[in-house]
């Protein structure tokens, strides 16, 4: 990977990318970030003049779906651009170096770019048994993570693992996997949740940080507002059917064929913040709902522990009883109603008998 002092523009020109394509990329990215047309110029200027930002990309307990998503950005240019834009100094999955050579890069970056590099984390650290459930380079991942985070300027949490915990943190969470903000406490963390996050969202976030030299605006949960401020439901193309009251009732019914709303099939669109319904996936080809399957809410905290993906009303696990709000509430109301009836009966009998006594 390149020397970090050259600019991004130097690198792409060397790679044979025309200025025209470069400007197109800037416009496209500015648009996808929801910035004004002037931002494209600003972006181009930044990428021409600023030194590339060194990025350390670490992998904890994860499935690499974030990396897979990242290298499949929609615009054919984007993945090249991004990979050149940042000086991706370390990414054990896609880097050429291996073993001691690779580990040496970590030391070098930590020293040379103290307080300047970005730490991108895919996956999360398990804490049980002193972190022995995830060993990376001979050390528990949690130690390596804390070590590298100490001198980073900012931390990017890729995907649901780093942001929330994801399936490895599912009950009963035997390895005690925790989201990275539980172990990195003193650095700004930007969460880019999703399982995986959308490629354009990932590249957009990186471009923003590189261009403006700061993290984008974050919401209450630490997610970039530009991509996570609206629900799937808010921009869903099937929303009209929802408002009309037209639902798929079964997977093979008329409604399913006509593309009605998947609300009754447990679609988590109404509770999921992500950009799927606008940016879509695989070069904007489709997204789950468009393919006829409800959203499973993969960018939401705890989505893996909310029972079936196909229930509208969430199953509640309490006292070993699994039921949804209606069943529990209905049972309680029923019992109370029966209790009231019995009480009324006893009251009546008691009153009649005391009357007779008098």
């Amino acid at each position: 990977m390149g020397v970090a002092t050259e600019t991004f523009y130097d690198v792409i020109r060397r790679q044979g990318i025309s200025r025209r394509s470069f400007v197109k990329f800037c416009s496209l990215t500015a648009a996808s970030l929801g910035l004004s047309p002037f931002a494209a110029t600003q972006m181009a200027h930044a990428l021409e003049t600023k030194p590339r930002v060194p990025v350390i990309w670490m992998h904890g307990l994860e499935c690499t779906c974030c990396s897979e998503s990242f290298i499949r950005s929609a615009h054919p240019l984007v993945k090249d651009v991004i990979l050149s834009m940042i000086s991706l100094d370390y990414d054990d999955t896609i880097m050429a170096a291996a073993g001691h050579q690779a580990e040496a890069i970590l030391e070098e970056t930590k020293e040379k770019y103290k307080g300047q590099y970005i730490l991108a984390v895919e996956g999360n650290p398990p804490l049980n048994e002193d972190g022995m459930y995830c060993i990376d380079g001979g050390k528990p991942f949690v130690e390596k993570l804390k070590y590298m985070a100490a001198d980073a300027s900012a931390v990017v949490a890729w995907g649901a693992c780093a942001s929330w915990g994801c399936v490895q943190a599912a009950k009963p969470n035997p390895t005690h996997a925790v989201p990275i903000d539980k172990v990195i406490l003193d650095k700004p963390i930007i969460k880019v949740p999703g399982c995986p996050p959308i490629a354009e969202v990932m590249t957009g976030v990186i471009t923003y940080i590189t261009t403006f030299g700061r993290l984008p605006d974050l919401d209450r949960q630490g997610r970039p507002k530009m991509f996570y401020s609206q629900r799937i439901h808010d921009k869903c193309y099937r929303r009209g059917h929802f408002d009309a009251g037209q639902f798929v009732e079964a997977w093979d019914d008329e409604g399913a064929r006509k593309g009605y709303c998947l609300y009754k099939m447990g679609c988590k669109g109404p509770t999921t913040y992500n950009a799927c319904s606008t940016v879509r996936w695989n070069n904007g080809v489709s997204f789950p709902i468009q393919s006829g399957h409800g959203c499973i809410g993969c960018s939401e905290d705890g989505f893996w522990d909310k029972e079936s993906f196909y229930d509208r009303l969430t199953t509640i696990n309490q006292f070993g009883v699994e039921a949804n709000a209606d069943r529990i509430g209905g049972a309680v109301a029923g019992v109370v109603l029966a209790g009231v009836a019995v009480h009324a009966g006893v009251t009546a009998v008691k009153r009649l008998s005391t009357k007779r006594d008098e």
Binding site: G245, V248, E249, K306, L313, A325, I328, G330, H343, V346
Partner: protein
């Protein structure tokens, strides 16, 4: 029983009528007057508006969670879910604004208007009232005591199951509403903290739904207790929430 309310003109006239026989007006007035004005007009209005809002909210809320059977034809021909949600949100606003107004009324209203907003847990007399009322409901007491406002057991029940749950429903309700209004809306600014407690709004939906069942349970007990007390206790109940006047059936002390 402490009683600072002066007898109304009407009461004086009635008592005057009675007094014709024994000249009661010249004697000391009895400690327990036959009727006392308890619930002022705004309190009564709030009660019934609130009751209506709860009915509308529960019905529409249920159909938001479990929608009606699907409609056929063009999507543009219908707006059923839209109307149900609109009704729910409107009734929600009525309930929330009503609640705020009702709270503000404690600064203008009589002493009884404040009862719903605190529990006198420091009062030994109140706790003895709780015990007595519990025993009355377990058929261990011959008769209940007389109370001008809520009896202590009803008081606990009102504060914990009606007022607290209403606050919870308003907070979770507006938090969920803010999801549609957007993160820049005042609803999101005022109630977005709910998502700190429950980061995944799916849980907020679930608890909001459970809240409905708590309120339904409250309504069952509330209506039963009102009817039962109206018949069994020493004071009026149902008519009190209509006229505001509480009439006692005897003038014995507790």
């Amino acid at each position: 029983m402490p009683n600072t309310t002066r007898p109304s003109r009407f009461q004086e006239q009635v008592l005057a009528g009675v007094a014709d026989i024994g000249g009661a007006l010249n004697r000391e007035l009895p400690i327990n007057r036959p009727t006392i004005y308890v619930y002022e007009a705004p309190v009564r209005l709030w009660h019934w508006v609130n009751a209506l809002a709860i009915v509308v909210l529960a019905v529409t809320g249920y159909f938001i969670g479990s929608p009606l059977p699907t409609l056929s034809g063009e999507a543009s021909d219908h707006f059923l879910m839209g109307y149900i949600r609109f009704t729910h949100f409107s009734a929600g606003y009525v309930l929330a604004i009503g609640f705020v107004m009702r709270f503000l009324w404690i600064f203008w209203g009589n002493i009884h208007s404040r009862q719903l907003f605190y529990l006198p847990i420091w009062s030994r007399k109140w706790w003895s009232g709780v015990r007595q009322e519990l025993r009355w409901y377990m058929f261990l007491e011959k008769e209940p005591r007389k109370y001008i406002g809520h009896n202590p057991l009803a008081h606990i029940f009102m504060v914990l199951m009606a007022m607290s749950i209403t606050v919870g429903m308003i907070c979770t309700g507006f938090a969920l509403y803010s999801q549609g209004e957007g993160i820049d809306s005042w609803q999101a600014k005022a109630f977005g903290w709910v998502f700190r407690l429950f980061p995944n709004s799916q849980d907020v939906h679930t608890w909001h739904h459970m809240g409905m069942w708590v309120i339904i349970t409250f309504v069952i007990i509330h209506i039963y207790a009102a009817i039962r007390e109206d018949i069994m206790s020493r004071q009026t109940m149902i008519s009190t929430m209509i006229s505001g006047e509480r009439q006692f059936r005897d003038d014995r002390e507790d």
